[in-house]
């Protein structure tokens, strides 16, 4: 089932949570809503579910306008950040709850409910735990029960709020892979909220990056990482540094020299150059090299990072990857060359 979100505006009193958000989610897609806290990602998920009523805007499930459908009738599977399991019910009763509260015409007989719940329990690899209570399960197991419970109502879409947020790092990684498998097996349109970019990039087909109640960019993990559409996305995903540059005469100027990047169709005036550590290299005698001095060197995983300062622009301090073969020492003068990068106009 595809989901279309149109111009959703939502405010809590004076603070705006969503400022006109639109998003198309294809059927069967696994999409991540990624953003810092307060960006509106959870609010958007809750609006889709019907847990939050927007001030204006519409939500379509397929061709059906679900904007005024109460949450009970939206047929969504929602997995809560802290699982929200019913503590006084067994695992089996938790999973069967959605079926058991249907009106008598649509409610399957008790035996059928039980059979389906056991099937789901098998799907989430928890067979044998049906008579446990939530308090007797580990965090990861609770998360699986919560997912099975959401799947039991045969939802049109699956919505997960920070599904791995409350788990420790190891369990997180396992569950991530496992969620992907479940998604591929069941084919549900799935939306999940996360503030963890690794999680979003690894798991999702597409990522919607939110900031301050707006969607900054929607794209595949490669697109948002390699071609960030806005300064925010550049800053938020991966490592980056911003340097003040000037656009004049069809060229981008850094520290008084033109660099090789084209300003595209940007207007004249001050601009920001965004760089990742891989976008700059040490280059001894290239004509477009900029004189720079190494401030410090540190180890970062498999590579070494050098913090450098441009000699002609004392404010321009950034980090670049130093190849293993190259000897770099703090205090050395080493020209650098900018290979890639992205220029955004404005200060």
């Amino acid at each position: 089932m595809d989901i279309r979100v149109r111009n959703i505006v939502k405010d809590y009193g004076r603070t705006a949570a969503l400022e006109g958000v639109s998003l198309d989610i294809a059927s069967g897609e696994l999409i991540a809503l990624l953003g810092p806290s307060g960006s509106g990602k959870t609010t958007l998920l809750r609006v889709i579910a019907g847990l939050e009523i927007p001030n204006s805007g519409q939500v379509f499930f397929g061709d059906e306008d679900a904007s005024f459908t109460p949450v009970q009738h939206r047929k969504v599977g929602f997995v809560f950040q802290h699982y929200a399991l019913f503590r006084h019910m067994t695992v089996l009763d938790n999973i069967g709850f959605g079926l058991s509260v249907r009106d008598s015409a649509r409610r399957p007989p008790a035996g059928e409910i039980r059979r389906r719940c056991l099937e789901l329990l098998d799907l989430v690899q928890l067979s044998g735990l049906e008579d446990r209570y939530p308090a007797q399960l580990s965090g990861g197991q609770r998360q699986r029960v919560a997912l099975a419970r959401a799947l039991a109502v045969e939802p049109r879409v699956l919505l997960l709020d920070e599904p791995f947020g409350a788990l420790d790092a190891k369990v997180r990684k396992d569950l991530r892979r496992w969620l992907r498998e479940i998604h591929d097996r069941t084919g549900h349109t799935t939306v999940f909220v996360t503030h963890d970019q690794d999680e979003a990039l690894e798991l999702a087909d597409r990522v919607a990056v939110l900031n301050k109640g707006r969607i900054e960019q929607v794209g595949t993990p490669d697109e948002v990482y390699d071609r960030p559409g806005t300064p925010f996305v550049f800053r938020f995903i991966g490592e980056s540094h911003a340097l003040a540059v000037k656009v004049a005469g069809g060229k981008v100027w850094l520290a008084g020299r033109p660099i090789l990047l084209s300003p595209e169709d940007m207007g004249e005036g001050p601009a920001q150059l965004h760089l990742r550590p891989q976008d700059v290299e040490f280059a001894a005698y290239a004509p477009d090299a900029l004189p720079a001095r190494i401030i410090s060197v540190r180890r970062s995983g498999p590579t070494r990072r050098a913090e450098i300062r441009l000699s002609d622009e004392q404010d321009a301090v950034f980090e670049i990857d130093a190849p293993a073969a190259l000897s770099v020492r703090p205090g050395e003068e080493r020209p650098v060359r900018i290979l890639r990068g992205r220029v955004f106009s404005g200060d």
Binding site: S22, F68, G229
Partner: protein, 307 residues
């Protein structure tokens, strides 16, 4: 929005005007944790009615009956010698019982909250014991101990010490029923606070007693005050236990609650309610101060463990 945001990032249909939203339909939607308005109104009405009937009305009756025959009759009843003796006795009893409770409460909380020792949970249960004993039984056990036919009564009488039907018995019975109050407030509070503050003070060279006065006592002062408040209200208002040991000797062993009973049984309703209104006023002041403490110093009185 930044200039460089490519228009293609926005879904094409987003620029189309949305269908006019149905305002009324949206208004009918409720957040899923919000109750139906009718349900909500009925629940509030029922709860308010229940509390008004069982709490507000009895309280109102006390004051209305007390002033029913005018302020003069009210004052007259309070000026009466027996009534004044009852007030004096009640204040005396509270003045003894509350400090004993403070000492007991602090000592009990100190050893339970700051130390680990075998039998600790048994001690906690024993401290709670007076709460599960009927006040009448509390009075009875003192009669069995100190009464004329009691275990120790005759011995004490030989030395001229009267406990039962005298002030000492009233004080003892009052302490019995109020004993858990302050300890129960302080134990969870001091457990929460742990021992690090005291350890820091000791490591800085402060002596044990000074550490208690300068570190522990300021940390627990609001909780202590809270306990004193509740303890005092019960000490001044205790009826059942005191009634059994007092002997109802007017002007001598009648506390205010007992005086209320005596006057009421003599069909002197105005006087009974006049004395009762003083006690009701005490209850109201206690409630007001208690609410103030809960509201102002919620974290410092460990409100969650309250009963």
């Amino acid at each position: 929005m930044p200039d460089s945001m490519p228009a293609a990032l926005l879904p094409p249909s987003a620029t189309k005007p949305a269908a006019a939203p149905d305002i009324r339909a949206r208004k009918r939607l409720r957040a899923p944790t919000e109750d139906p308005p009718l349900f909500r109104a009925a629940a509030i009405a029922l709860a308010v009615f229940f509390l008004a009937l069982f709490l507000v009305l009895p309280l109102a009756v006390v004051f209305i009956e007390a002033f029913g025959k005018g302020a003069a009759a009210f004052l007259e009843a309070l000026r009466e010698e027996d009534a004044r003796a009852a007030v004096r006795l009640t204040l005396t009893v509270a003045a003894i019982a509350v400090p004993v409770n403070v000492v007991f409460g602090i000592a009990a909380a100190w050893c339970i909250a700051k130390f680990e020792f075998p039998g600790k949970s048994l001690l906690v249960s024993l401290i709670d014991l007076p709460f599960s004993v009927s006040p009448v039984v509390a009075g009875l056990v003192y009669v069995l101990l100190f009464g004329a036919q009691g275990l120790l009564g005759p011995t004490l009488q030989a030395y001229g010490i009267e406990v039962i039907f005298a002030v000492p018995g009233i004080v003892l019975a009052t302490i019995f029923v109020t004993l858990p109050f302050i300890a129960r407030e302080l134990i969870p509070l001091m457990e929460d606070q742990g021992t690090t503050d005291e350890e820091a003070a000791l490591s800085l060279g402060a002596g044990g007693f000074r550490t208690f006065l300068r570190i522990t006592l300021p940390n627990i002062r609001w909780g202590l005050l809270y306990g004193v408040l509740l303890c005092n209200a019960r000490a001044m208002g205790e009826f059942g236990a005191v009634s059994v040991v007092s002997g109802h000797i007017r002007g001598l062993t009648n506390t205010m609650p007992l005086q209320v009973e005596v006057l009421y049984n003599e069909y002197n309703a105005t006087a009974a309610f006049a004395v009762a209104s003083l006690l009701a006023g005490l209850a109201l002041v206690t409630l007001a101060l208690k609410s103030l403490l809960e509201w102002r110093y919620a974290d410092e009185i460990a409100g969650t463990h309250r009963r």
